[in-house]
């Protein structure tokens, strides 16, 4: 019997939270079920866009952190 996969199953799959066995079954289903494949592609596309929407802090902020770490060796601050 073919298992029916839900949107939630696909979300877990896209976020690497499915088991190896589930992966095998989902990948098999994706090969035959166009509607499921379309849902998967939409989810994957959105996930990639969310990845792209991440921001990076300024170089100045990063340098301040690195400098703090180096100085901490010389003048350790006690909590």
């Amino acid at each position: 019997m073919t298992k029916i996969f839900t949107h939630d199953d696909l979300i877990r799959y896209v976020y690497d939270e499915t088991t190896i066995e589930e992966n095998r079954l989902i990948e098999k289903a994706l090969a035959f079920d166009n509607a499921l494949l379309e849902q998967y592609q939409e989810l994957q596309g959105l996930k990639e866009q969310l990845d792209g929407s991440m921001l990076a802090p300024s170089e100045k902020a990063v340098n301040a952190i690195l400098e703090y770490s180096k100085d901490f060796n010389l003048h350790p601050v006690k909590d």
Binding site: E17, L43, E48, S53, M54, A56, F72, D79
Partner: protein, 200 residues
Amino acid sequence: MNSQKTKLDDSQLVNQYINGNEVAFEQLVIRHKSRIFSTIYMIVKDQYVAEDLMQEVFIKAIRTLKSGRYNEEGKFLPWILRIAHNLAIDNFRKNKRYPTIVMDDGNSVFETLEFAEGSFEDAQMKKDMHKSLRKLIQELPDAQKEVLIMRHFMDMSFKEISDQTGVSINTALGRMRYALINLRKKMQQYNIAYDQNFYS
């Protein structure tokens, strides 16, 4: 000859840093700065506050690591993201009555922000689209936004989200589902470019 370098994992870098290797720490910062900064920014919505808080997060991390109080059993990224999330939430709560929000609306300091990915000829188009996407995330209902930030930006599992928020795994999954569906709807509604081949 195989010239490919082996990439050290976080745990190895942390150990090297504890043993005095500052370059290892620099690699950790470079590897995770975008995820940590984005997590804070999604909550406080102000670039300058987010940068201050990010520095505070790393100061706490540096002190813990160098004083030998770091628990090696835990993973570095979830640990530092928890610190970031807690500080951002504290800051948000403190300033809730008189919020100083710099909106991500295209006419503020965000023009100067660097993007996590590299530059392309169509960088401006991508920049606009990602800016719109961040704005749409802010429009989501709080419960959906919380799960989206925890799952996508903080890389927490649905089980961890369930434990932290006190809802079932199915509820967390359902909130994530609605968050993604709503984002898609809003993107279509505002006609935000969506091309799956854009990144290929």
